[in-house]
Symmetry: C2
Subunit: 284 residues, 2 copies
């Protein structure tokens, strides 16, 4: 079985590091001439997938914008996920789910079970209830060639209070909460897939000063990094090596509005341009 | 407009403190003679609502078990939410959503907008990205008489690392992460609904030693407390006053398997029994 890390590595090699966000904001639906409805988000998502296929390697639907439309929105999302996977894109469901025990196991089953209606290649998760609360989805991911991305250091200033708080006891005593999550992820990857790119990733906002969180990018040399914040939120593509150092090769450069603002006529060109710009950064 | 806190207070007065979990675990579906399918979770949910109506005041569907079945599972959940609200129950969608900006706003719209397909009376949320990241759903809740319950101190041991970490800067410097969330919630309630039961609640596991987190129950005198962990997980109903002190009157005593294990024939009796036992605890 191919692991998620291997699939991701292959996508980096063949199509580069761009991860195209599928974020059907109401304002974007309006700009795209689509209704703010389940049909609108389906059409939006399918057009983004169509433009990304053959140009980029990775897409990331923001599930909140589908969930707004209830079960009909989820039916639309199923179509979008299916189309994206059928066209060979690596699909990350941006759901930020988290819970305990059988509940978090059920979230893992929803998004990571081969053949399930909402099947994706990976999902984003939240570890407010501890990294250990995610053991069950992590086990599911490993068993079926899927991946997880755990929120670690995010770009919004109000996250600072929680994510820089200092752990008091246990093996991570003295680390920030964000660094303790990064350390746990790195260790899990080292056990599961030594010497390969791991299948358990972290979310590190591109506008974040990692030193503030005590995160050393060099430790992430075998860990995928999902990095929102390029373009619209202010991080520059040319800063990738400076931001992530030895881990730059593992970064999924997530871009949503910076691409989606181009509208249905301009999106294919916007994707191709960002893929080319990124390839130049990585070739330099 | 009636606030969520007022509705909750009214439910406490008329029907007591029991919050009946609607958790269609696969093992429970099997025990209930139902298929592990969208139809199964719909039937399960509708039967629990039917048994709870007129006996208890509050229900809490665990959304992960519906999400397992994709859009069809959400269509089932819509039926369950609608039936519960139609029978006058206070409905808390246990979704533990969290995100930033327009994404978390979209989650709030999904669950708290009057007339939306997934409309509930309140939702559970996660503040890994900071309590401030939840401002937009909180604004939506206040505007439409809805509520939020923010995860603070949860019952699983692996949550300890994050939730007892010490905040380093700002107004909550020196507090644990869990206590900083509790403090932020208490302050928000004091501003939004002074002198009434607030509409912004916290989740505090009933098996948690609040002192370990630096949480003083007395500060929660106007804040709803959603407390899972009674019954199956080991907390005793008779301990409520000892656990929550002056805030005991605000506790939603969440019970899932302890009721659902009774099966379709026994559930109405199980609910009535727990309501009566709780009334005795509160009368003592």
């Amino acid at each position: 079985m191919t692991t998620f890390g291997e699939r991701l590595f292959s996508a980096f090699t063949s199509a580069g590091h761009l991860c195209v966000g599928i974020d059907p904001h109401p304002y974007l639906l309006d700009r795209w001439g689509l209704a703010d409805s389940a049909e609108g988000v389906r059409e939006f998502g399918l057009r983004v997938v169509d433009a990304a296929g053959g140009r980029a390697g990775i897409v990331k639907p923001q599930v909140a914008f589908f969930e707004r439309h209830g079960s009909a929105g989820f039916a639309a999302l199923e179509k979008v996920l299916g189309a994206a996977r059928a066209s060979g894109l690596v699909v990350i469901a941006d759901v930020k789910r988290g819970d305990l025990g059988t509940s978090v196991e059920a979230y893992g089953q929803a998004w990571l079970t081969p053949g399930s209606p909402l099947e994706a290649d990976a999902m984003t998760v939240s570890a407010y209830q501890g990294l250990g609360s995610l053991d069950e989805p992590w086990r599911l991911a490993l068993a079926s060639g899927k991946g997880l991305f755990v929120l670690a250091a995010t770009s919004n200033p109000e996250s600072y209070e929680t994510q820089t708080a200092i752990v008091g006891r246990g093996i991570h005593a003295g680390l920030t909460v964000a660094a303790s999550i990064v350390d746990g992820v790195v260790r899990s990857n080292a056990v599961a897939t030594p010497s390969l790119l791991g299948s358990l990733g972290v979310v590190l906002g591109a506008t974040v000063d990692l030193a503030d969180f005590g995160i050393v990018p060099g430790t992430l040399a075998a860990t995928p990094i999902l990095a929102p914040g390029f373009g619209h939120q202010g991080a520059q593509l040319s800063d990738i090596r400076e931001l992530y150092g030895a881990a730059a090769g593992n970064v999924l450069v997530s871009s949503s509005r910076g691409i989606l603002d181009a509208g249905p006529e301009g999106i294919a060109t916007a994707i191709a341009t960002q893929v080319r710009d990124l390839a130049e950064v990585y070739a330099a």
